[in-house]
């Protein structure tokens, strides 16, 4: 399945996987995973054990696949692992970083390991730490930092060497709601403002829905749904109407006009009947209601996820 918008030419695919299989003994981690991941921010969504981390490790060339084809930035990671990894930034799920190192030294060292000369690595490390909001804290030992700060240190280390592709494994793990919001905004900003391609592994639907341009939903080692976020969420045609009061009255009036109406809490879900927009306008005006929302019907990612899993 493809998470690349149809308009994107093939060479712009950042990751292309065809029937990728990986087994650990008798356990099948990836059972013929097929997906195309394009530019922008892509969410790799799935429950724990779905195969997300295994897929990421194969993308990095750290594990070999048993079967299938895979290209990352135009290369096969099984044969060009070093070439690919020098162009990738990676932030792991775990927070175990060298406790005594300062954030600045840690990020600088990883930038040097990604082949930046010493002075450039130091400058880039500082810039990346300022970007993630740790500029003032950059000389603090990582071991004294909170989980939220460590997550940002990992993000800084993943982008300091200016990679083409950034892999973030559960970047909001262990964060409180406020930190999570900040981190998501940061990832979105990095993906849009600096043009880095980002793959975010997560099992939080709302996170993926909020910041990603595309999504790949993995369950049981296979892709169950993938595509641009707008395409994936494409639902039945029609309208969603939300008013401030007297929902049932509005529903009854619309039904009198021959429309199919489903009441969903404070919302009304209408079909794509001809003249539905005019009917809603007239009914709302007739009842003197305040119109809060009028938009095409779509599905939330949760709808898609639950539907894909069933």
């Amino acid at each position: 399945m493809s998470a690349v918008p149809d308009s994107e030419p093939a060479f712009e695919r950042v990751i292309s996987a065809r029937d990728v299989t990986k087994r650990y003994g008798r356990t099948v981690a990836l059972a013929g995973l097929t997906a195309d991941i394009g530019p922008g921010i892509t969410g790799l969504l799935g429950s724990n054990g779905a195969g997300k981390t295994t897929f990421m490790s194969i993308v990095l060339g750290l594990r070999t696949r048993d079967a299938g084809e895979l290209t990352v930035l135009g290369h096969d990671p099984a044969t060009a692992g070093i070439e690919i990894r020098s162009r990738i930034g990676y932030a792991p799920e775990h927070h175990d970083l060298p406790a005594e190192l300062s954030a600045s030294d840690f990020v600088r060292h990883l930038a040097e390991m990604h082949l930046l000369p010493g002075r450039a690595a130091m400058q880039r490390a500082n810039e990346a730490l300022w970007l993630v909001g740790l500029g003032e804290e950059r000389f603090r030992p990582v071991g004294t930092m909170s989980t939220g700060q460590r997550q940002r240190v990992k993000l800084a280390s993943a982008i300091a060497h200016d990679p083409e592709l950034v892999l973030l494994d559960e970047p909001t793990d262990g964060l409180d709601p406020l930190q999570r919001t900040t981190m998501l905004d940061l990832i979105r900003r990095i993906g849009t403002e600096f043009g880095l391609h980002i793959v975010v592994s997560s099992h939080h639907l709302e996170e993926v829905e909020r910041i990603c341009d595309a999504v790949v939903i993995v369950e049981g080692g296979v892709v169950v749904r993938a595509g641009a976020m707008a395409d994936v969420r494409q639902g039945p045609e029609g309208l969603v109407v939300e008013v401030d009061d007297r929902v049932e009255e509005l529903a009854a009036l619309l039904r009198e006009h021959g429309l199919e109406v489903v009441v969903d809490g404070s919302r009304l879900l209408l079909g794509a009947d001809e003249g539905v927009h005019d009917a809603v306008r007239d009914a709302v005006a007739e009842l003197g209601l305040g119109l809060r929302r009028l938009e095409p019907r779509g599905r939330t990612l949760e709808d898609v996820y639950m539907g894909a899993g069933s």
């Binding site: 175990d96 060298p98 390991m113 990604h114 082949l115 810039e127």
Partner: protein, 290 residues
């Protein structure tokens, strides 16, 4: 017109130079060497390396000071170049037990190994960087004291002629490199089996003390062949040192002293290569990604 310049442009694309991937090995080696010596770290991380280095330098310092103060070089009273490795044997073991575990174990324990391997390093290159670091740091203790001694004697006017001094220099380097190779490779192999520094340090000490006891007991009590003394790794290194400098140990009747130079040198090389191979095999199987 304003002369103001904007220096802080914030995070932006990087289009500057990048090193070749092979240089990542050297970067890792330098970083590791600094860490194991406690450079750029708190004072407590510097204490043990500094003490061990001081212990290793002490005999050289004493020799030089005594010679200069008494204005007399009494060769028979001073430590010779050849016996230096034997003399600082304990410091060598302690240093190896300190350096290799510090170089290898924390990376696996903290998850840094996964971060390294997610960059332009594979497992072999990672190990090459670590081995280079441990070997380089070990040469600080196997080569530097003797170089210091030679340099001090040259400056004090006690050195032999220029030709002999150059020969001595080459012997110091050869002996120091061989000793560093053995201690580095064996301690690396031991450290590859655990994520705990303390366990690796203890195991390293045991590796240099238990086999020698076993071998010499077997040779003395059960008439085992002298070749078994090649398991006495510390004595193998010091015996080779004696021979490189053309000296004879005081206790020349030890089993290792009965073996040919080729066998002693071959034994040292074989043990080193085997240890590095074990280390490489271990790292092929280690789960680095989590």
């Amino acid at each position: 017109m304003s002369q103001a310049q904007l220096f802080d442009l914030g995070y932006r694309e990087y289009d500057g130079a990048r090193h070749r991937p092979a240089l990542a090995i050297l970067t890792l080696a330098l970083f590791t060497a600094k860490r194991v010596l406690g450079l750029g770290r708190g004072a407590r991380h510097k204490v043990l390396p500094a003490i061990t280095l001081a212990v290793a330098f002490l005999p050289a310092l004493v020799s030089v000071v005594v010679s200069v103060v008494t204005d007399n070089l009494l060769e028979e009273d001073l430590i010779s170049y050849g016996e230096y490795t034997f003399f600082i044997g304990s410091a060598l073991v302690l240093f190896a037990a300190l350096v290799a575990p510090e170089a290898l174990c924390p990376d696996r324990r903290s998850g840094m190994l996964g971060l390294y391997l997610a960059g332009p390093l594979d497992r072999t290159r990672y190990l090459a960087g670590k081995a280079l670091a441990v070997f380089g740091v070990m040469t600080l203790i196997t080569v530097s004291p003797l170089l210091f001694m030679l340099l001090a004697f040259v400056l004090a006017g006690y050195a032999p002629g220029a030709g002999e001094s150059v020969e001595l220099l080459l012997e110091i380097v050869a002996s120091g490199l061989a000793t560093a190779l053995l201690y580095a490779s064996l301690s690396l192999a031991v450290s590859s089996f655990t994520t705990r520094r303390a366990a690796a340090a203890v195991a390293t000490v045991l590796l240099f003390t238990v086999p020698v006891t076993v071998a010499r007991t077997a040779i003395d009590s059960a008439d085992a062949p002298n070749e078994l003394d090649l398991m006495s790794f510390g004595f193998v290194a010091s015996e080779l040192s004696y021979r490189i400098f053309g000296e004879t140990p005081e206790e020349a009747d030890e089993p290792i002293s009965q073996l040919s130079t080729e066998l002693v040198a071959g034994g040292l090389l074989a043990a080193s290569v085997a240890a590095l191979f074990v280390c490489w095999l271990r790292y092929r199987r280690i789960e680095a990604f989590r």
